[in-house]
Symmetry: D2
Subunit: 338 residues, 4 copies
């Protein structure tokens, strides 16, 4: 029996969410997210972020959410700036380009954009023979497990305001960032500092679902047309509503992410104690420890995980992902096996 | 308490499906539809259609399935022929055009394409100054409740073969068509006569999900790239697999559709008995009875449904949709109220 | 030697235009339409239309101009309303759809849109499950030789204003419309009544070139990015500038169109005198006379022209197009041959 | 009077080309590149490249030619590999992305792709969560004045064959590459080693025009539909035919490029003699000498040119471009001024 650290979407939903779905199963609902659960979930989120005017849309998956948001925000010749490790730049099969827009990938060793990198992109694009940067895309936590501090997001907010850029935070793993031990950001901060962001459900205890929160009025008009056109308007939309109701009703969202982080912390501390190092200095639910090829071959017999990259002739880094469903037994088994 | 005949996706999933989702909830699965349930569901469907080489992809929604299939099949200058009432022509917010392709809408009083209509489209498009028709899109059952007989699909198959066109059947409501009292088509026939089609789950007892079945080898290569690029690759893909396993394990798919049709039949017979007529001669789970404006105003107090269109100064047709979850009580109440 | 009435772009440019191109040939110019001739041409056009704030862009061809203008004006889910005979609906190989937008084709027997047809399109598109009409596209003169009267454009202007639609006039054959004997519109009127329009050069004496005139400020920002992105920014842009300078310097634009209309008029009068009838009641440089199949076979030996459509078992309409270069001899020869 | 070294498209056309356009001006031609001059030009080019089956299309501009070729060759999820300095990656306002495709930009110090860089791109893109590389785009001469040797193109050809990639050569400045003193490639070689390439006219003595040559049969079907859809089918297409007839009738193409290279050579030798160095080791009609800021300020009074980039605190490189029309006097004046 192999235990999986491959990702944070290997199990279904938290039992409280499933139970809620069961309870409402035979009740008739209005379709296409015009139901009362969706409305209630939106209210809960607006309250959580302390922003009455925010528009909330619940969408099944992250790639959909990214492509709809970006292609709503940009005119045809405009581009989005991303860290080169950004999900939209690497792992969405060109979904953004398929909507017609260039992703301007900036090298960022720790997976995080900075005002300097944004300025570099702006300086390069000077006239109508080049695309026009108009949006900044950041992931929090990032694809390599790092996360943004409040001062960093404030700096990004500042340059975006100044240069007329939209700031968009991909929060597929936002829960893990917000409950990390080094975090100093709140959802309220994020709502104040970004133009649009989303709160990931898929990777934090829901069957599926991302809650897109639009703060900037310019991005709101007719957004549902975009959702429908891209095939992202779920017929039984209340399924999304119910899940986000549960996540934001009794702090379940934070509890689940906290658990994922704790499991990662246990792994991290144990590996450090054993003298292992890491490819990136991650502080969330993704770890990238470096092992010898022999050790990896050995671990692969009992655990599943992805290879990150080759570090030197005899070593590679691997990616370990913990989740709301990761068990204490799984973690201890891995530590034991190492 | 209003009872809804608005559509066939007002309730969740059939209890057997929900139960199966519950049972597997905490078991770790491989993501992105590479799990064992999805593989099993595909095997069940291939067996059902008696086609070993068919490729099966499970996708969350119908608009996604339509746009991915059509934009995979067509080169940039090619177009898809549809009845003017076709879902892709009217109710998908230009999703097909958003992938770059023209929908050639042909007038079809009963919602069904014919070889003559296809020939008309071909005759009109003669050179490189016009789009090139390359695919024929049909819905079965259609958007107005009618359905294709075997001889009709054979005739479409014949002209498509002859003219080098792909034949694509949108089966969002295929269950209702296949279990209708006038039906003479089987899934096996459909697999033999079309190049690609899908079997609707959303409107027939699943929480969501459409099973796309690709018969023509030309449409198969790298299809998963298309699914991913359009944001339609569900992280927890096994949720789709489990649902279609249940639907095709013990004939549940047919049972549920049969129930929907029976409920529609009861309504239809009762309305005919009372002397009402219908806007279209539907034989599936959608009915379009014509009522006076006063009658409609009265019915709206107890039931929800969509208005179809104005018939004359004092009458409109409405759309009544039954489903696997429609209750005998609901139907009797409606008949009583009329 | 066959004489051609196939179209109005069978010859090169008016000698005055060619001469001007010759004269400037070895003078160094700034590229990409940032030269003095282009600026001068724009000034001449702004003066002609009495609109100081208009933005003028010179673009090589009509399909480019249409697709750039429409895709600049529309958000991804918005659509353009056109007569079903409109050039963008039929003869541009789906160029508009290739930019992601649906063309809403309305049947218009005389090739002209009316407020009633626009209202019909608006009434049909009611929510986010359908595209959102946002632009009205008209051709003047139309593809079947008819033309808009001032009152008609005023009525279109009125409904567009009222409904928040952009009004776009394709003027590939605007010269012929403006110099027709029944015309009561001026360029100044058009600038007052539309949001954007263009003045065709290709079909009125230039080697190539359409002068796009943007009136509505909402359509102006960053328009050159769109031109460049769609491959429509001519490196040696002054070639366009010089041609439009000549056309608008000494009324050459009107002179050339007047000649085309006169040639058509002679043909029309002669054919009427001989008892022939026409498929459409055209008043510009396109005529659609109806001949017997035998007569057509006979005419084809000496003249080239396109077939329009079959009228009855023994008759078809043909399309005769005259231009600034059509000779008196050609016209007389045709009349003689009939 | 400022003399311009800004680019190689500051003047009109070579007098022999203009003369030929004059001569045919009032002769009636078939439109849309179906005329005899275009056919003749295609024959001349097929003979020059010794490839009877090549398909030749004459297109107005380079960005159009690039975007049409690339979007014809790629399926929606496929990408094109380019040097990061490639024209399609930087200077076409996202034209390729606007057709839906990602440009995979590889760093190449000298502007040239290598098998190693291509292999790196292939190694990175491993599954359906990423785009699929399918085409390799190279410019010859490159955007920074360097050029490919025969062995280099053979090596690219080899890896492309092996990996199933199309090899596409952008020849906007092919004349300059082929007539450079270090060149060992012929048009015949290029036709043998690439799948598709084009021969630039705009930057080598034509008013406008690029001759696209399709070698690989897979890229030929229905290509004219793509040209029309993207607005690149010139109504008076014979204007392109006449120009390429002249260029390939009496070696004018090579003569003009040779002149441009000679002018660059004179500049280069003189600058080297004076001890100046260059940002790139160019061998064609573009030079990138490094000057002090004061020197540049001084030169800008008499000459126009583009700034390339800052080299150190006090120096920048500039771009000098020579052309078929560059005069001996211009060159001597620049040398004198330095």
């Amino acid at each position: 029996m192999v235990y999986s650290f491959t990702n944070d979407y290997s199990e279904g939903a938290h039992p409280r969410i499933l139970e809620s779905l069961m309870k409402s199963n035979l009740i008739q609902h209005t379709g296409y997210s015009l139901d009362c659960h969706t409305e209630h979930a939106a209210r809960l989120i607006r309250k959580e972020i302390q922003c009455e005017n925010a528009e909330v849309h619940l969408i099944v998956g992250g790639t959909q959410t990214n492509l709809i948001t970006i292609c709503t925000a940009l005119r045809p010749f405009q581009a989005v700036i991303s860290a080169s490790t950004g999900h939209i730049n690497v792992h969405e099969t060109g979904a953004i380009e398929a909507t017609g827009h260039k992703v301007l990938a900036m090298p960022a060793a720790d997976g995080k954009l900075t005002p300097a990198l944004i300025q570099e992109a702006l300086d390069f694009h000077t006239d109508e023979h080049m695309v026009q940067p108009k949006m900044v895309y950041i992931s929090n936590s990032t694809e390599i497990g790092t996360q943004y501090k409040k001062a960093e997001v404030e700096a990004l907010h500042h340059i975006c305001r100044q240069k007329g850029l939209y700031l968009f935070m991909d929060g597929a793993r936002l829960g893990s960032a917000l409950t990390s031990s080094v975090n100093d950001l709140t959802l309220e901060d994020i709502a104040r500092l970004t133009d649009v962001f989303y709160i990931g459900g898929t990777k934090n205890g829901a069957l599926f679902g991302e809650a897109l929160v639009i703060i900037n009025d310019a991005l709101k008009p007719d957004f549902r047309f975009m959702i429908k056109q891209r095939g992202a308007m779920l017929a039984k939309g209340w399924l999304l509503g119910i899940q986000f109701e549960e996540l934001f009703q009794n702090h379940l969202f934070y509890e689940l992410a906290t658990h994922a982080n704790e499991m990662a912390d246990q792994l991290k501390k144990a590996l450090i104690a054993k003298g292992y190092s890491f490819a990136y200095d991650s502080t969330t639910n993704q770890l990238f420890p470096i092992f010898s090829d022999e050790k990896i071959a050995c671990l692969e017999k009992e655990f599943s995980f992805n290879i990150d990259k080759r570090v030197d002739e005899a070593h590679r880094s691997i990616r370990l992902v913990t989740s709301w469903a990761t068990t204490q037994e799984g973690v201890q088994a891995f530590i034991g096996a190492v």
